[in-house]
Subunit: 255 residues, 2 copies
């Protein structure tokens, strides 16, 4: 197999562009790095455009059969491979996929209203998956789901959950409310979370921006405004920790 030696190769230029939101938008593609994420991608229903291997990369026997799926596989010189990766010490394998997501369905949803830290966004998605939730609504001012940092923190959950990207989160939630969903806004001036009542079996938990919380239009249409109790002198919780505590509690006691 020929090894791509130059970062000026047009394909390499394209792959490099996928590190930025603009490049991903122009090509409609995104790139995942590392053995674990690539394996998940190859096993998923997401269309794989191509797989990139560093010249010295040896696929283990369980990965090899997944690499003959009808898409091109390229070998890249070390420095070329490094140049397309976001991680400092890449594992030697990456895959380019078409931007898409599974459709939003199911009755246990989370809505992220302006979560801008990629680590928080990815961690909340990973936790939603672990808690058994079904899908995620993302407001337009959230971090980009397909950015390398979000994908890394989400650890494959982007392939498991349904997603929706409404232009106006409050309208999307209004529609769900009319379908019978409870809309739970988490906010510091809310009622005690663990004493909540009358939450329907279909619900959306809304987590707001790290600094400003849930936006006013969403607060207005919420059926429940809830706050995790805090003991001691602590003033707040990290957004992804608070989301995790609430999601696990809701999934155990959907009331």
């Amino acid at each position: 197999m020929e090894i791509i030696q130059s970062v000026k190769n047009p394909k390499v230029q394209l792959w490099r562009s996928l590190r930025d939101a603009k490049g991903r938008k122009q090509s409609g593609s995104f790139l995942v790095e590392g053995v674990r994420l690539v394996r998940e991608a190859l096993l998923s229903s997401f269309p794989v455009q191509e797989v990139l291997l560093r010249e010295d990369f040896q696929a283990d026997p369980s990965l090899t059969p997944l690499l003959s799926g009808g898409f091109p596989v390229y070998r890249l010189a070390d420095h070329v491979f490094q140049s397309v990766c976001d991680t400092k010490t890449p594992q030697g394998i990456a895959a380019v996929l078409s931007v898409r997501t599974l459709p939003l369905q199911g009755g246990a949803l989370i809505a992220l209203d302006g979560i801008q830290d990629p680590g928080n966004l990815g961690t909340i998605i990973r936790t939603a998956d672990a808690a058994g939730m079904n899908g995620v609504l993302l407001s337009p001012d959230c971090a980009d789901l397909f950015s390398p940092k979000v994908l890394r923190a989400a650890m494959g959950s982007v392939f498991h959950l349904g997603f929706s990207f409404p232009d106006q989160l409050d309208r999307a939630l209004q529609n769900l409310k009319e379908e019978g969903f409870s809309i739970l806004s988490s906010q510091l001036d809310g009622e005690p979370f663990f004493s909540r009542r009358d939450v329907h079996s279909s619900f959306v938990l809304v987590i707001g921006n790290e600094g400003n919380g849930v936006s006013d239009p969403v607060r207005r249409i919420a059926t429940h405004r809830l706050c995790l109790p805090m003991a001691g002198n602590a003033e707040s919780l990290n957004a992804s920790v608070a989301a995790g505590i609430m999601m696990y509690d809701l999934m155990r006691f959907p009331s």
Copy 2:
């Protein structure tokens, strides 16, 4: 007030050294940055050695009375102040404190067994405080509690909780077990967390290293080996999210 203009000033050299574990150890001091943390420090029982202000810093009326506490207050030129801070855009106030902690007491404890990421360590401590827990045991291979990143993530909880730094975590836990504490080891091959039984009102929840989990000696002496259930295809939870879910559940249902 004279303004310190040179980074070669011996005091400045000392303050700069507090960004590293070695410097903190040599001087027995640590430095906190920002209005919120400095306010908490000044209101705490921790001995304040000195307060540092950037030349243009204006204390608000609620902070001013706290600044006349019998310790020196220095004004630093902008670039000098920046050089002692770990944050990129400092708020203009910092305080140097003697390394100490409140004693470990109470019946709801968390033990951190090799938590090496400063963000995780600080976030778990902040969450323990919010959940109403009393104290934290730290194994020798944890990140340094007094490092700037940990202090930032812990958001003042270092002033609220008791701490202990045993040379051998397993021995310290063995002693607590003999005092009647339940020792709860969180591990991926444990029993389902939410079905746990016979947890005493005094307990220690042990959270292990991000990659390797709880160490073998600690697993051996645990009274309970527990795992958070995970639905879907998720493989693991972020350490600080998992700790938060377990702490909040334990504090609501101490069984």
